[in-house]
């Protein structure tokens, strides 16, 4: 089943508005509550949500499988053909821009536990990119002036969100130095610490299409603003269902948890000059994975044949992305600043000699 969110007043394609957190018709301005819209639709979308179908039936949601494995869908609004892969969950028609949501991708066990709706729009994402590059001295001027951005996409990225209660034991070899009658006494100690810690809402990227480091870099998301999932929030945005299993996600979460436990334990060892961990045992007492969709603006651009991808947290506005640097600007900055500092140092040395 594919939902096309149409305005009940004029039939125009509705889009989720990040400012008002409502579905808005860009044609007549009608406003609809997202959750209420899905509930009132009462049709296929709602049935899919309530139906508890745990498997994704490609035949039943009007998407056809092509010979090359790609899925095609005929837009109900204009008849245009929409193409996607098997993780596609929300997109828009490339001809009429009508939002298309595959509700079946989020039904039953595939249904996210919660969603953080977009708080910032495309305009803010573009402005953020401009501000992001403007202060960087080594970024090529042409790149800064380049107004063309290949693509700006608002994407709901699937995340596994882990909660974990952890028990840890760490033993350290520690030393303490004190001045003892004209000599330094170095005392050696065995230091043992054990304790409990609770981690909540650790997000792990569940889409193989997104680079893990890019998604890590836009953390954190504020889960206090999360709401129960309803497909209407996806209208006007891209979305994929997860293709990284919770077990795979847990491996990354576990690594991060262990490092944090070791660091937190080390912070409790005070009054020593050195403390080197020699043994540690960290065990998960209780763990839980939740499935969530987080809002991310993805901006793509190409410069000198190389592709650059930036990401902005669609909730907090945190903007990241590796920028190109101009080698000639690097040399210019290096030598001009070196010349200035050298002149100042030489002048200072001369003044010191005069005094």
């Amino acid at each position: 089943m594919a939902n096309e969110y149409k305005c009940s007043s004029c039939g125009g394609a509705l889009e989720f508005d990040s400012k008002t957190q409502k579905l808005i018709c860009p044609y007549c301005g009608a406003v609809h509550d997202a959750a209420a819209y899905d509930a009132a639709a009462g049709g296929a979308a709602a049935q899919q949500q309530a139906g508890g179908s745990s498997s994704w039936n490609m035949q039943s949601d009007n998407w056809n499988v092509g010979e090359d494995g790609l899925l095609t869908y005929v837009c109900e609004n204009c008849g245009g053909e929409v193409v996607g892969d098997d993780t596609l969950a929300s997109t828009s028609c490339p001809y009429c821009d009508s939002p298309i949501v595959r509700a079946s991708q989020f039904s039953g066990s595939l249904r996210p536990d919660f969603i953080i709706p977009f708080k910032l729009d495309k305009k803010e994402a573009k402005a953020k990119l401009s501000r992001f590059v403007s202060g960087k001295k080594l970024v090529p001027k042409v790149f800064k002036d380049q107004k063309h951005i290949d693509e700006v996409k608002g994407v709901y990225v699937p995340f596994w969100v882990f909660d974990a209660d952890v028990y840890g034991e760490v033993t350290y070899n520690a030393t303490r130095e004190q001045n003892n009658g004209g000599q330094i006494e170095v005392g050696h100690f065995d230091v043992f610490r054990s304790g409990n810690m609770s981690f909540r809402n650790i997000p792990i990227d569940a889409s193989s299409k997104m680079e893990d480091d890019l998604m890590d870099s836009i953390e954190p998301f504020n889960t206090n603003e999360a709401v129960p999932f309803t497909p209407a929030y996806l209208a006007g945005y891209m979305a994929d269902k997860y293709d990284v299993s919770p077990q795979e996600g847990f491996v990354r979460a576990d690594e991060r948890i262990k490092k944090s436990v070791e660091e937190a334990m080390r912070n409790t060892v005070k009054g020593f000059n050195t403390a080197t961990p020699v043994a540690s045992n960290i065990s998960m007492m209780q763990g839980q994975a939740k499935y969530a969709l987080y809002p991310v603006w993805i901006l793509n651009t190409t410069w000198q044949g190389k592709h650059y991808r930036f990401a902005m947290n669609g909730q907090t506005g945190k903007f990241v992305g590796d920028l190109p640097y101009d080698k000639s600007a690097y040399k210019r900055q290096l030598f001009s600043f070196a010349g200035i500092v050298s002149a100042i140092v030489f002048g200072a040395l001369f003044l010191l000699w005069l005094i």
């Binding site: 004209g182 050696h188 054990s194 981690f199 690594e255 944090s260 660091e263 100042i344 030489f346």
Partner: protein
């Protein structure tokens, strides 16, 4: 008969003094024979003409500041230390005419140098001052350019005595400044400038990279650590000496020579 006894006793006393002095520093008596001599070049390190000019120069400085500025060289110390030899030479009657002074000794047998100061020389030539002086003289000694070395010594002694006359002798933190070393300072400035600039552009380059894999989950730790156990068991101790800072005050350290006179001084190798 009485007169004969007197001559006999005097001869005996002189012989005894000569033997005692020779055991400390063999050539002392040779210098003591002429009070106008300020250069005793027993090792023959400089030509006669150079020696005469240097002697004249040291005599002039000594007279100007009512002190003794002496150069003494030898090719053997006969089992006494350079410092003991320099002290004994300065203690000899020949240099007691004026109130204090400085003696610079060079022994070519073991490439020794030594300063000995006495009286007002202790104040004028502090430990830091002597270190500064030998720093300027030593390269010439190493090159065996002895005349140049002794003339540098004369110039420095003149400058140090002039400074001491102002009541603020050269000492730690108040040493004479040499000529402005433009090339050396330019190299220092260029290296410092380049390093500072390199640190800056490295930081600027780092600003272009904002994508980083998360390795911790500390942001998501709720309520910190609830400690269940904490134990610290003492195993053993080891001791090591305290390394003391060498940056003490200035002034002159002193010692007492074999004749009972208080001296300042320093010695070393070139």
């Amino acid at each position: 008969m009485k007169k004969m006894m007197k001559i006999y006793k005097l001869t005996l006393a002189l012989l005894l003094l000569a033997v005692l002095t020779l055991t400390v520093c063999p050539m002392q008596l040779r210098a003591a024979s002429d009070t106008e001599i300020y250069v005793v070049d027993n090792a023959n390190l400089i030509a006669d003409g150079e020696e005469a000019a240097l002697n004249s120069r040291l005599a002039e400085i000594s007279a100007k500041y009512d002190t003794n500025v002496i150069v003494y060289t030898d090719s053997s110390l006969y089992n006494v230390t350079p410092q003991e030899c320099a002290d004994a030479m300065l203690d000899s009657d020949a240099f007691k005419k004026r109130g204090g002074g400085i003696l610079f000794m060079v022994n070519t047998e073991d490439n020794d140098w030594a300063f000995s100061t006495v009286g007002t020389g202790i104040t004028a030539f502090t430990d830091a001052g002597q270190e500064y002086m030998i720093g300027k003289i030593k390269p010439k000694l190493s090159d065996k350019a002895y005349d140049k070395a002794f003339n540098i010594y004369a110039d420095l002694a003149d400058d140090f005595l002039k400074q001491a006359a102002t009541g603020k002798p050269y000492d730690k933190g108040n040493l004479p400044k040499g000529p402005f070393q433009a090339v050396k300072d330019a190299i220092i400035a260029i290296v410092a400038g380049f390093l500072a600039s390199l640190a800056r552009v490295t930081k600027l380059k780092g600003e272009t990279k904002t994508v980083k894999k998360a390795t911790k989950a500390t942001t998501y730790l709720v309520g910190g650590v609830t400690l269940a156990g904490a134990q610290e068991v003492y195993r053993n101790s080891e001791f090591r000496p305290v390394v003391r800072s060498t940056g003490g005050g200035g002034g002159s350290s002193t010692h007492v020579s074999s004749s009972g006179t208080v001296h300042g001084g320093s010695s070393g190798k070139f």
